[in-house]
Symmetry: C2
DNA sequence: GATTGGCACTCCACGATGCCGAGTGCCAAC
DNA sequence: GTTGGCACTCGGCATCGTGGAGTGCCAATC
């Protein structure tokens, strides 16, 4: 869609979108002029509105109602009419500060990100924890919980930590377990689950069991990366008058169960394209047609990565949502870089940060 | 409250509660007799109903409506009128089967429990992951992520695994880190965070840093045990007609944010008392007055433990909820026992299981 | 040719009205 | 103690009328 509207039409569309987002009521020519002086009469505005409706940017709920933006109208608004603001600095500082509190615990990043997104946008937020699509082994440990029950802890290259319980057929002491892990660890460092499984075939009884389990864990971690999602701000969903009453909110919550929403969203996500906005029927999944989605990925290049975003009614504050998503994704990317990046990269990054 | 109703009054109360739970509409004398033959006329039922209302077991929404159970009415029903059924065996088998799938991953137990509770009860479920109120150290590992960034993994006696990132001032190789952990691990096994912190004081630079961090992690784990909660079945909340429309559902969701609901519920939870039912205004917290809570704790004696339960409208299927909560709590307790119990205990437990 | 004021028309939201059905409470009779 | 009868009550629902906001069109004007 190219910009194809006259200056005045653009102005009117912009005001109608803003006004509708603000009030939630269809906007009429007169009431629009009461708030904004356009230097023309209602009749003129009406004729322009008629033109905009002709071109599918606006719609009437019914004959004697005002105009409401269509998905196409929102799209044009987001594309060409939105003042490209970034998040206010005080809020940036607050966010950075909050993240600093949990800097050390990687698992809490995603939770915090979800909370921040929800609170700042006033919408439902979704965040996937940082994961790698191909998990490679970093390190594992065997810890004796009690006789014949061992805890296997695996750390992947991407920093994901997993633990599984390993029942053994015979009793094996902590010393033996430590020796085993010391022997195996160097062998499987940086290998994928397939490679480890191949190794397991040739190995002895106990090592074979352990290696098999490790391979399983790695494979599982990759699978879960496709389905684990943290959501926050459910209460905001109900605050939306247009969603709260109908069965719409319920549908949305159902989509969240078991991360089903991810398989709906991911196919549409273009990685590394900054913030993406998907409005109403632009969503491939029909369930999401009543909603707008603001998405971004974070992390980078084969390292741990994920995506985050917010979902709300198409009548959402796009400017605010986009700047929030953009900023939080940046913060998450920075955090990940601080862990995995080589020193060179890190230095240049910190310089950029000033 | 002692049983204080005549046989016929009890029957009528029971039928009214059941009928109201089934239909959600106030129950009248005539419509009650249409479904159930009590061998008496509507007028008789009416007079009994009047008596029950007198005693606060029933209430009228308005003059010409049927009767609705009061919280007191539900209480009497749960206490004396409920047929004490256990969960149907096929469902028991399904649940056991589902847990067997994730047996090895301790972290997924709570999630699964929440999903099962929600699906079987058709209500919102809450589950806290198994935690110990006094965390003691089991084992830790140091893993070099990259130069000067180390991942510290701690495993507590209760089996909780935590990871934190440790920035160092100077570069230290994996070999040195492994040596350090091998030296320190035996020293701090089974210690609390306070004891470890005391040890840290006298230790050298790096060991001191590590021990301090470990103590922090332990302390944090204890704190989080008080606030971490998994909820499932939010969509069911909205299906409840009496909640979906009002702002009530929203209030409930707000309570869930950040585990605030735990601090509301825990003070009222008596541990080791089987399944507890808290109905409406019996809840100390006013926010929960519109709801009924079915709660149980699981786990045992200083080991990892937690609680689980469901929250729904006071008009809930108490029989089903209670039996579900009871069964799932039993399953969780069994699972934990299989990990931590000594072999003796385990044997007798398995024998009981047959 | 664009803009404007005027005007008829449309339709929703909202309150008032009336009716029906379900339910109650009471009472006299059994 | 139980019953049938009866007057009464009240919410729910449909119907109706009104007012306001908004539109579309057109002829007049700049």
């Amino acid at each position: 869609m190219q910009p194809q509207l006259s200056r005045r039409q653009s102005t009117i569309l912009k005001l109608i979108v803003q006004e509708y987002i603000r009030t939630g009521r269809a906007v009429g020519s007169k009431s629009l002029l009461e708030r904004y002086d356009l230097g023309v009469s209602p009749a003129t505005v009406r004729s322009e509105m008629g033109e905009l409706e002709e071109q599918q940017f606006l719609a009437h709920p019914h004959t004697s109602a005002g105009r409401v933006p269509t998905d196409r109208g929102y799209r044009y608004y987001v594309e060409y009419l939105l003042d490209d603001t970034s998040l206010p600095v005080p809020e940036q500082i607050t966010i950075r500060h909050q993240f600093r509190q949990v800097e050390a615990q990687v698992e809490s990043w995603a939770k915090l990100a979800a909370a921040v997104l929800a609170d700042l946008s006033g919408n439902l937020s979704l965040v996937t924890p940082p994961r790698s699509s191909v998990e490679r082994m970093r390190h594992f440990e065997l810890i004796s919980l009690r006789s014949r029950v061992v805890l296997l802890i695996t750390v992947t290259q991407a920093g994901t930590v997993r633990e599984v319980i390993l029942p053994l057929t015979e009793e094996i002491g902590q010393e033996q377990l430590s020796a085993l892990s010391q022997r195996l660890n160097p062998l499987i460092r940086d290998l994928t689950h397939e490679q480890i499984r191949r190794l397991a075939e040739g190995a002895g009884d106990l090592p074979g069991l352990v290696l098999h389990q490790i391979a399983d864990v790695l494979r599982l971690a990759e699978q879960e990366a496709q389905s684990e999602v943290i959501a926050e701000g459910l209460d905001y969903v109900l605050q939306q008058p247009e969603l709260g009453h109908g069965a719409l909110a319920q549908r949305l919550l159902e989509l969240l169960r078991g991360g089903a929403i991810l398989s709906v969203l991911i196919p549409q996500l273009k990685t590394g394209e900054g913030v993406q906005v998907i409005i109403g029927t632009e969503n491939r999944a029909a369930e999401l047609h009543p909603f707008a989605v603001v998405l971004a990925s974070y992390g980078a290049r084969g390292h741990a990565a994920g995506f985050l975003g917010i979902i709300g009614p198409t009548r959402m504050r796009y400017g605010r949502s986009i700047s929030t998503v953009r900023y939080v994704s940046q913060v998450m990317t920075d955090l990940l870089r601080d862990i995995y990046e080589t020193d060179d990269e890190e230095r240049s990054h910190h310089e950029r940060g000033r």
